[in-house]
C-alpha cells in the first residue's frame, strides 16, 4: 500500500500543507479531510507544498478542484509550491497552471498572500 501523509504548518495567516508519498484515489481522502478542516475553521489561505510528493493521480488532482471554488469565494486561495518536475508535468499537461498559481518556492507563495492581504 502506497503511503501518504499530509501535515499542516502555519506561517502568519497562511497555512502550508506538506504532502508526501503517493496521492491517489485512496489516499486523496486524507488530503480532502485536511483541507476541509482548514476551510471549516476559516483558514482559507492555503499553500500545498509538493516537495516530497512522489506520485499524483487524477483523483488527487480532483481534490484541489473540489475545494478551489469554495476557498476563493471565501476570499482565500490554494497555491502550489515546490513541485518536482515529474509532478509539474502532470499539472501542466492538464492545464492546471491556468487555474492555479504555482511557485517554485514556498516563500514566494507566502509573500503573494501577504501582498493581496495588504
Amino acid at each position: 500500500m502506497a503511503s501518504f501523509n499530509a501535515s499542516v504548518r502555519q506561517s502568519g495567516k497562511t497555512y502550508i500543507i506538506d504532502i508526501s508519498g503517493d496521492l491517489d484515489a485512496h489516499t486523496s481522502i486524507e488530503l480532502e479531510r485536511t483541507i476541509q478542516e482548514l476551510i471549516d475553521t476559516g483558514r482559507t489561505n492555503i499553500i500545498v507544498n509538493f516537495s516530497k510528493l512522489n506520485y499524483i493521480s487524477s483523483a488527487g488532482l480532483g481534490v484541489f478542484m473540489s475545494f478551489i471554488d469554495e476557498v476563493r469565494s471565501k476570499g482565500g486561495d490554494i497555491k502550489f509550491s515546490n513541485m518536482p518536475d515529474k509532478i509539474f508535468q502532470v499539472f501542466d499537461l492538464l492545464g492546471f497552471p491556468l487555474l492555479y498559481e504555482i511557485y517554485d518556492d514556498e516563500n514566494k507563495a507566502i509573500e503573494k498572500f501577504q501582498m493581496t492581504a495588504s
Partner: protein, 751 residues
C-alpha cells in the same frame, strides 16, 4: 380417530351393561336372599365378580383415555401435578358430600353390624344402590388417583421404574383375581396372600419415585402442600367414616381388595409427597433460578446462531437480561458509534439532536452512545440518568471495562460525600424518584474482536441489587450478544461486498461495450486500439467516429476520466454520447469539437472530476491528421525513423466551463506519409513503474514505437503493451488504466 371414538363407546357400553347386570343380580339377591342368605351359589358369586371386573376395567380405561387425551403436549406426566392435586381435592370433597347426602336421604342404607357376615346383611335396598354408587364415584376416584400416581412415578423414569410399577399393579391384580368368587368372611387363600405381599413390597419400591417434585415452581409447591393433606384426609374419611370400605366388600370382596390396595398406596404416596414437598421447599427458589438461568442462556445462545438481524439481537439481549435479573429490573442497550474520519463532523452535529443519545465524546476522540433498545424504563429516564452519570459511558468507551455502582445515592462518583453520617441522612431523605428509580446499576460493554459494540445497562431500584451471579450472567449475555452482533455485521459486509462485486461486473460489461467493437475502414490507414482497466471498472476511453461519406474522414478520440470506479464509468458513457453526436457537427476542426464537448460535459461533471482528451480527425484523401489536445498526454508521431511528441497547450475538459478553455486550446495539422505512425495513449503507459519506482516515461514509449514502425498498427500496439508489461514485471506496477491506440498510414493496394 374413528377407532378411538368407537373404543370409548364400546367401553361405555361394557360399563353400563355389566353394571346393570350386576345391580340386578344384587337387587334380586336382596329380595330372594333375605331368607336364604347362605344358599347363594358359587356360580352367582363368580358372575358377580366377573361383572365387577368388567366394570372396574371399563372405568379404568375410560379415565385413562380421558386423562391421556387431555395431556399437555411434550410431557410424559400427562398432568400438571399442582392441577391434579387441585382437581383431586375438589373431587374428593364432592364425592364425600354426595355420598353423605345419599346416606342422609335414604338412611339407613348401610349394613347390619351385628350380622356375622355383614356384607350379606344390607339394612335396606338403598344399601345395595349405595354400594354401586360408591364403586362408580369413589372407586373411579381411586382409579384416577392410581393413573395420576403412575404418570408421576414414571416422570423422569429410570431403567426399572416402569417395570416396577407394572409389577406392582400386576401382582395387585393377580391377588384380586385369585380371590374371585369369595365373599366377605372367607379366608384369603395362600395364592392371594403371596401375590398381595409381593404387591405390597413393590409399593414400597414405588413410593419414593418423586423426581417430579423438583422442577415444579415454588408457589405451586406451597399450594400443593395444602392440597395434598386434603386428599389424604378425604380418602381416609371416605373409607372409614363413611364406611365405604364395607360397600366395596358388598360389591365384590375381591375388588374391594384391589381398591383398598390402591387406596393404601395412594395415601402412602401422597404422604411421602407431602414430606418431600416440605423438604424441597426451601431450596426450590434457588433451583428455579438456576433452571431459568440455564433456560435463558440456552435460548440466548440458540438465538444468536439463528438471527442475523442486528435490531432483533438488541431487543432479545435486553429482554433476556431482564428475565435473568428479575421483573423489577430495568434494562437498556446503548449502541456505540465510533467517530470515523468521514462522519466526525456530520455525526457530532446531527447526533446531538437525537433523543436517544446518551453520551458523546466532546473531544472527538471516541464516539457516542445511542439507546437502541430498552425495557421497563423510558428514554427520558435514561437521559436524565445519563446526564448525571456520563462517567459510566466514558469509562466504557475508554477502557471497555464493566462499571458497577452499588449505591447511586451515595456514590462518590456522583459527587456524594464519603462521610458516613451524611450518607445516612441522605438515605433517609431520598425517595426513589430522586434518582429515577435507579438504586444500583451494572454496565457491561459488548466487545467483539477488541472493538466496542455497545453497552448493556441493567439497573435495579434498590441499592446493592446485584450479586456476583447476576454479574456473571449479564456478562455472559453481553459476550454472546457481542459475538452475534459481530457475526451479523460480518455477514452483512460480505453480502454487500458480493453485491458490489456483482454490480461492478455488470458495469465492466457495459463499459467494454462502450469501446469500439471493430476498426473503421479507412482508405490507406490502419488503426487499432486496446484498453485495460486497472480495476473492475476503468476511466479510460477511446473511440472512432466515421464522419464523412466513403470513409474519407474519421475521428479518433482517446480520453481519461479522473477518478476510478463506477462514477468514472458513467462519465465515460456520457462522453461517448457527446463524441458520437458532436463529431459529425464539427467535421473539420478538432478544436471546435473539443470546445463544444467541454461546454456540454462541464455542466454534468462534479467539481472534483475532469476528463483529459485528445481528438484527431484523419483526412484519408490528403493524408492529414488534425489534432487538438485537452490536457491529454501528447501524441507520439514516428516519421522516417524519428519519433517525437506533439505537445500542445490545452486544459482538461471540465476544469473550466468556457472562455479559459477556448482561449488555451490549440490545433495542429500533421502531414502523414506512407509508413508514418501515430500513437495515442493514456498516462497509464507513461506512469507505469518498475520495481525501483522508475516510470516507463516518454522516451521508452517513443523508442518502442520507433523500432516497431515497420509493423502493422495492431502489432505496434501489441509491442507497446508488451514493453510496458515487461517493464513493470518483477515488482513494478501499472497504476492506472492503460489504453493504446495506434494509427498508421500504409500503402494503398493498387487496384
Amino acid at each position: 380417530m374413528q377407532k378411538n371414538v368407537r373404543l370409548t363407546y364400546f367401553l361405555f357400553l361394557a360399563l353400563i351393561i355389566s353394571e346393570v347386570l350386576h345391580l340386578s343380580i344384587d337387587v334380586g339377591l336382596f329380595y330372594a336372599g333375605e331368607a336364604r342368605a347362605y344358599l347363594i351359589s358359587l356360580g352367582v358369586l363368580f358372575l358377580k365378580d366377573f361383572l365387577g371386573y368388567v366394570t372396574v376395567a371399563s372405568i379404568y380405561l375410560l379415565i385413562r383415555r380421558q386423562i391421556a387425551s387431555h395431556a399437555l403436549p411434550d410431557t410424559v406426566a400427562w398432568v400438571e401435578p399442582e392441577d391434579a392435586f387441585k382437581r383431586g381435592a375438589i373431587l374428593i370433597v364432592l364425592i364425600i358430600v354426595f355420598l353423605s347426602v345419599y346416606s342422609a336421604l335414604f338412611s339407613p342404607c348401610d349394613f347390619n353390624p351385628e350380622e356375622e357376615i355383614p356384607a350379606s346383611a344390607p339394612q335396606t335396598i338403598y344399601s345395595i344402590f349405595k354400594s354401586h354408587l360408591t364403586i362408580l364415584t369413589f372407586g373411579s376416584y381411586l382409579l384416577a388417583l392410581f393413573i395420576v400416581a403412575e404418570r408421576l412415578i414414571l416422570f423422569r423414569r429410570l431403567k426399572n421404574t416402569k417395570s416396577n410399577f407394572i409389577l406392582m399393579a400386576a401382582f395387585l391384580t393377580l391377588g384380586t383375581v385369585a380371590m374371585t368368587g369369595s365373599k366377605k368372611g372367607d379366608k384369603i387363600n395362600v395364592l392371594a396372600i403371596a401375590f398381595l405381599s409381593v404387591a405390597g413390597l413393590m409399593m414400597l419400591v414405588n413410593l419414593f419415585r418423586l423426581s417430579w417434585i423438583l422442577p415444579i415452581k415454588r408457589d405451586e409447591k406451597i399450594r400443593a402442600i395444602f392440597l395434598v393433606p386434603l386428599i389424604i384426609g378425604g380418602i381416609i374419611i371416605a373409607l372409614d367414616r363413611l364406611k365405604l370400605q364395607e360397600h366395596f366388600t358388598a360389591y365384590s370382596f375381591s375388588i374391594s381388595l384391589f381398591l383398598e390396595g390402591i387406596a393404601i398406596f395412594g395415601v402412602l404416596y401422597l404422604t411421602v409427597t407431602l414430606f418431600s414437598l416440605l423438604f424441597y421447599l426451601p431450596t426450590s427458589e434457588a433451583f428455579e433460578r438456576k433452571s431459568s438461568e440455564v433456560k435463558n442462556l440456552y435460548a440466548m445462545s440458540k438465538f444468536i446462531t439463528d438471527v442475523f438481524e442486528e435490531e432483533k439481537i438488541y431487543d432479545s439481549l435486553v429482554s433476556y437480561a431482564r428475565q435473568a435479573c428479575g421483573a423489577s429490573s430495568s434494562v437498556w442497550f446503548d449502541l456505540y458509534h465510533p467517530y470515523s474520519e468521514e462522519t466526525r463532523s456530520a455525526e457530532s452535529t446531527t447526533a446531538s439532536k437525537l433523543p436517544n443519545l446518551q453520551w458523546r465524546d466532546l473531544n472527538g476522540e471516541y464516539g457516542f452512545f445511542k439507546t437502541v433498545a430498552q425495557q421497563n424504563i423510558s428514554l427520558e429516564d435514561i437521559q436524565r440518568f445519563s446526564s448525571k452519570a456520563g462517567f459510566i459511558w466514558k469509562q466504557i468507551a475508554e477502557k471497555k471495562s464493566i462499571v458497577r455502582i452499588d449505591d447511586i445515592e451515595n456514590d462518590v462518583r456522583f459527587g456524594a460525600s464519603p462521610s458516613a453520617l451524611k450518607q445516612f441522612w441522605r438515605r433517609i431523605k431520598s425517595t426513589p424518584a430522586s434518582s429515577n428509580g435507579i438504586g444500583s446499576i451494572v454496565s457491561v460493554p459488548l466487545v467483539a474482536r477488541n472493538k466496542l459494540i455497545g453497552v448493556l445497562c441493567v439497573s435495579k431500584d434498590v441499592e446493592y441489587g446485584f450479586v456476583k451471579e447476576d454479574l456473571e450472567l449479564i456478562t455472559t449475555f453481553a459476550d454472546q450478544a457481542a459475538v452475534a452482533i459481530d457475526n451479523s455485521r460480518l455477514i452483512r459486509e460480505l453480502i454487500d461486498k458480493e453485491r458490489l462485486q456483482q454490480e461492478l461486473l455488470v458495469a465492466q460489461k457495459i463499459q467494454l461495450r462502450l469501446l469500439p467493437q471493430s476498426q473503421p475502414k479507412m482508405k490507406g490507414f490502419e488503426v487499432d486500439g486496446v484498453s485495460y482497466p486497472a480495476y473492475e471498472v476503468g476511466g479510460d476511453y477511446f473511440d472512432y467516429v466515421q464522419i464523412g461519406e466513403n470513409s474519407t474522414t474519421v475521428g479518433i478520440i482517446i480520453a481519461d476520466v479522473s477518478g476510478k470506479g463506477t462514477s468514472a464509468a458513467f462519465y465515460m458513457a456520457e462522453l461517448k454520447g457527446i463524441v458520437q453526436s458532436l463529431a459529425r457537427i464539427y467535421p473539420n476542426s478538432p478544436k471546435e469539437f473539443l470546445c463544444k464537448a467541454n461546454e456540454t460535459i462541464a455542466r454534468g461533471l462534479e467539481k472534483a472530476s475532469f476528463i483529459s482528451a485528445l481528438y484527431g480527425i484523419v483526412d484519408t484523401e490528403r493524408g492529414l491528421l488534425h489534432l487538438s489536445n485537452a490536457g491529454h498526454c501528447p501524441a507520439v508521431v514516428v516519421q522516417s525513423n524519428t519519433a517525437h511528441l506533439i505537445k500542445m497547450k490545452g486544459m482538461a475538459l471540465g476544469l473550466d466551463k468556457g472562455a479559459l478553455f477556448s482561449r488555451n486550446i490549440q490545433e495542429v495539422q500533421v502531414e502523414l506519409n506512407i509508413g508514418d505512425v501515430v500513437v495515442l495513449y493514456t498516462d497509464g503507459v507513461i506512469e507505469a513503474v518498475d520495481k525501483h519506482g522508475e516510470q516507463f516515461g516518454y522516451e521508452r514509449l517513443m523508442d518502442v514505437a520507433r523500432r516497431s514502425r515497420q509493423k502493422s498498427a495492431s502489432e505496434i500496439k501489441n509491442d507497446i503493451f508488451n514493453a510496458v508489461n515487461a517493464f513493470t514485471n518483477d515488482g513494478g506496477a501499472v497504476r492506472d488504466d492503460l489504453t493504446i491506440v495506434v494509427l498508421k498510414r500504409c500503402h494503398i493496394p493498387q487496384p
